[in-house]
């Protein structure tokens, strides 16, 4: 039985509903040596800023139970080097590209979106309004992230939408009481989709040295440890949104991905599990197809939000 895996995520056609989470796949080329990355529904690139960024001082990463904490701090090559050095490889391969962007103000996001569209640098924009690692950990409190304030989510979304005709997805933070509020704010401001979730804030202390494990003190928790939290947020948001959701948070297998689709995600992203298993996203695609065959589902879209309560 032929199975349709193609989905339309707010105007972005993906040949299957599987992408990778920004920051877990660099700019694609690194993992193309392990599998053909053009098989992905889309490649979501590491956050791009106008200027290159060095990121935070090390140590930046530590393993945690069923996951990891990171405080990379959006180290990236910047938009110019991306367009010049990284993009040609992805285009040559025929990849569908989600361009993840990060800026300090709405105008910077708008500028990045404009550049990506003008130079064919992406097929959709994902606005990272939720990186937890670019603020001073000693002062970061509720509201420091754009995605913690619905009115700012709306402001940023409007600025980006005004700058580009590409589909715009807004990536939101789980470090909030009610995910529905910023998700609705994004939708009302014209977002074509939301990406849920970014990492959960966490930290670690070395009891022997009594010092924080990460130089930044706090970092973002990812991996299967956060999957139930992410799933619940996708389910919450799906009940209230008309626009599609890209679900992510600890997805390692097709069974994990199916949970997000059943909860209401139109597409999913494999995140930090790619670090352990570089072709994890490909295995998820293959597993989703097998799932559909096993359940005699001709079109995966029939399963979006199909949890039976």
């Amino acid at each position: 039985m032929g199975v349709n895996l193609q989905v339309n995520v707010g105007g972005l056609i993906m040949k299957n509903p599987v992408t990778v989470a920004s920051g877990t796949f660099a700019y694609g080329q690194e993992y193309d040596q392990y599998f053909d990355i053009a098989q992905l529904g889309a490649v979501t690139v590491k956050s791009l800023s106008i200027q290159p960024r060095a990121g935070n001082r090390p140590p930046r990463l530590v393993e945690t139970p069923a996951g990891m904490l990171n405080a990379i701090g959006l180290q990236n090559v910047g938009i110019d080097a991306y367009l010049r050095d990284k993009l040609p490889y992805l285009r040559e391969k025929g990849c569908t590209i989600i361009g993840n962007i990060y800026g300090h103000a709405p105008e910077e996001y708008a500028e990045l979106a404009r550049r990506l569209e003008a130079e064919n640098g992406a097929d959709a924009i994902e606005a990272n309004l939720s990186c937890p690692n670019v603020h001073d950990a000693r002062t970061v409190r509720g509201g420091a992230l754009v995605a913690q304030a619905p009115e700012r989510v709306a402001e940023y979304t409007r600025a980006i939408k005004a700058a580009t005709k590409l589909p715009v997805f807004v990536k939101l933070t789980p470090n909030i009481i009610d995910i529905v509020e910023p998700a609705l704010a994004a939708q009302e401001a014209g977002a074509d989709g939301v990406a849920l979730i970014n990492t959960l804030l966490g930290m670690g202390i070395n009891p022997e040295t009594r010092r924080p494990i990460l130089r930044n003190i706090v970092g973002g928790l990812s991996g299967p440890a956060i999957r139930p939290v992410a799933l619940k947020m996708v389910w919450d948001a799906a009940k209230h949104l008309r626009i599609p959701i890209i679900g992510m948070g600890g997805i390692c297998s097709a069974a994990d991905a199916m949970q997000f689709i059943l909860a209401g995600a139109t597409a999913v992203a494999v995140g930090s599990y790619s670090f352990r298993q570089p072709d994890a996203a490909l295995r998820v695609i293959q597993g989703l197809e097998a799932y559909c065959q096993r359940h005699q589902v001709e079109d995966i879209r029939q399963l979006i939000g199909a949890m039976e309560a």
């Binding site: 392990y34 990463l61 069923a66 570089p278």
Partner: protein
Amino acid sequence: MPYIADCRITTHQEVAPEHYRLVVHAPQLAKEAQPGQFCMLQVREGHYPFLRRPMSIERIFADGVSFLYKVVGEGTRMLSGMSQGQMLNVQGPLGKPFPRESGFDRYIITAGGIGIAPFPALADALKRELGKAPEVIIAARTERFLLCEKDFRQMGCKVHFATDDGSAGEKAFASEVLKRLSPAAGTVVYACGPMPMMKATHAVCAAAGAVCYASLEAEMACGDGVCLGCVVEANVEVETERMVRVCKDGPVFDTQLIQWESY
């Protein structure tokens, strides 16, 4: 190009308390591996531990490679419980190898503790390719953790010992023994060990005008340049390029590149 494959464990033995030698059957990997490169080992299925464990390649054989490791946490503890005959998922070879350039007067290896791990392969390659058996400083807390002496002697290496407690060789740091060996311009020193040891080694080499390459260690998620978690700070003029990845830009660095003040 790195491979990912299930490899049979052909030997797994405790060589000192909490220290193990693990040999895997991996012909393709062995064919491409160079001294100083490493592999990412998946200690078990499931989500705990979540990440692979980076391990220096100790020896490169025709049909496989060996690793020498110390149990430092739960991941290496689980690994140490694996038996000969079991399959281990191995990703590698990864990272940049030790440069092996001819034309130096002296080749000196200096290792602190489990930092000895990448050096049997290097000494073997230097001997075979350049006809020079390097001098080797093996330093450890105490005598029973001085590893690989026999391997180096078989290759014709002159071996110097240093221990923290004086139980074998000099009661001294590796860098102090190195200093007494009088490295100079025309000497190349290869170092691996705790950060303070490599920092001191760099200082000795810099003062003597010797070239020094160090193999660094860092917590890493991917091992292949993607996660940017394992960076160290480098002496690079462009501020936005000062973070270098231990996994991909290293693990072997010319020690002049590293900002040792941070360590």
